[in-house]
C-alpha cells in the first residue's frame, strides 16, 4: 500500500473543489477561514495556502483585509472561459499525434453513442463528459497545455451545477461528440477541430439559457 504523502494544502484544495462541484458553496459568498478550517480539521495555515492556489485558478477572489470569497458567476465570464477552453483544446488536438487520434477515435465514438442511454443525473453527465474530453486529449504531448486546461476547467466548475441535465441537450452533445469522433476516424483533423469548437460553442449556449442575466 502506497501511503498518501501529499501536502495538506493539496488535499484541502481537492476537497474544496469537490465540495464546490457538489454545490456546497454559493458563488459570491465569503470564506470564513476559522470556521472552514475547523470543519476540515486543519489549521488556518494550510487552508489559506489552498485558498491562494484556488484564487490563482479564478475559483476564488481575494481583497485586502476582507479575505477570500467564491468568485461570482457571470454570463460574460462564462463566455470568456468557454472561448479559452475551446482555443486550448483545439491547440491540443492540432499538436496531437494523428496516428494516436485515429486509434482512440473508435472508443470516442462508442462512448459518445452510449451517452443518451445512460441515466442523466447531472454530476454523472459532467464526469462522463470530462472523461470523453480527457480521452480526446490523451495524445497531446504538450504537458504544460494539459495542465493549463485542467486549471481553466477548474475555474469553470462552478458553472456546472447551475444547470440540470435534460434529455435534449444530452442528445445534442452526444451527436456533436459523434461528429468529432467520425472526423477523426476519417483523418480529417481540421474538420474535427471545427466540430470541437462548435461543440463548445453549442454547449455554451445551452448552458447560457440557464444562467441568470448578470
Amino acid at each position: 500500500m502506497a501511503i498518501e504523502r501529499r501536502p495538506l494544502r493539496e488535499q484541502i484544495r481537492d476537497e474544496l473543489m469537490d465540495r464546490l462541484t457538489r454545490g456546497e458553496f454559493a458563488a459570491g459568498t465569503d470564506v470564513n477561514e476559522a470556521v472552514l478550517a475547523a470543519e476540515l480539521g486543519v489549521s488556518r495555515t494550510p487552508l489559506r495556502e489552498a485558498l491562494i492556489a484556488l484564487a490563482g485558478e479564478g475559483v476564488l477572489e481575494s481583497s485586502q483585509g476582507r479575505g477570500f470569497r467564491f468568485a461570482p458567476v457571470s454570463r460574460k465570464e462564462f463566455r470568456e472561459l468557454v472561448a479559452i477552453v475551446a482555443a486550448l483544446e483545439s491547440l491540443a488536438l492540432e499538436s496531437s499525434d494523428p496516428e494516436h487520434l485515429r486509434s482512440v477515435a473508435p472508443r470516442l465514438l462508442d462512448l459518445a453513442q452510449g451517452f443518451p442511454d445512460q441515466v442523466a443525473e447531472h454530476a454523472t453527465v459532467d464526469r462522463r463528459d470530462d472523461e470523453w474530453h480527457g480521452l480526446l486529449l490523451s495524445g497531446c504531448s504538450n504537458e504544460r497545455l494539459l495542465d493549463l486546461l485542467t486549471r481553466v476547467k477548474a475555474g469553470m466548475r462552478r458553472y456546472e451545477n447551475l444547470v440540470v441535465a435534460e434529455d435534449e441537450p444530452v442528445a445534442r452533445e452526444s451527436a456533436e461528440h459523434c461528429e468529432i469522433a467520425r472526423r477523426l476516424l476519417a483523418d480529417d483533423l481540421p474538420g474535427a477541430i471545427t466540430a470541437l469548437r462548435a461543440n463548445w460553442i453549442g454547449g455554451m449556449e445551452r448552458m447560457l439559457a440557464h444562467i441568470p442575466a448578470d
Copy 2:
C-alpha cells in the same frame, strides 16, 4: 497620494518575479525559505504564500518535504509555452473590436519601426516587446483571457534572460511586428493573426538557438 495597501504575498510575488527577470535565480535551484524571507525582511508565512502562487504559474515547482525550487528550463517546455501563448494571443485578436484594432494599428507600426534604432540592451528589448503586445491586445474585452496570458507569460519569463539581444533578431522582430500592424491597418484580421503566429514561432526559433539541449 494613494498609499500602497496590498497583501505582502503579492508584493513578494512581484519582487521575486523582478529578481527572476534580472536573472538572480538560477533555474533548478532550491529556495531556502528562511534565508529568502530574511533577505526580503518578511516572515516565512507570506513568503510561502507567494511561492505557492508562483508555483501555480509554473515558475516554481514543489515536492513534499523538499520545498520549492525554481523550475528547470527545457527546450520542450519553451516550445509548449510559445504554442500556448500564440494560440491565446490569436484568440485575443479574434475577439477584439476590429474598429479598435484599426485605431491602434498606426501606433503599433510606429513603435515597431522604431525598434531597431533604439539601444538593444536585453531587458529593454523585452520590456518594449511586452509593451507592444500589450497595446496589440488592448482592445480585447476577454478579461479572463488577458489574465491568463499574463500568467502564462510569467512562466516564460525565466527563458528571457537566457539569450542576449542581437542586431539581426531585433531587426527580424521589428519587420514581423510591422507586418502585423500593416495587416491590421488593411483590416485583414486573418492575415494579422497568421503574421502574429509566425512572429511567435520565429521568435521561438531564434531563442531556441540559445537554449542548451535538455
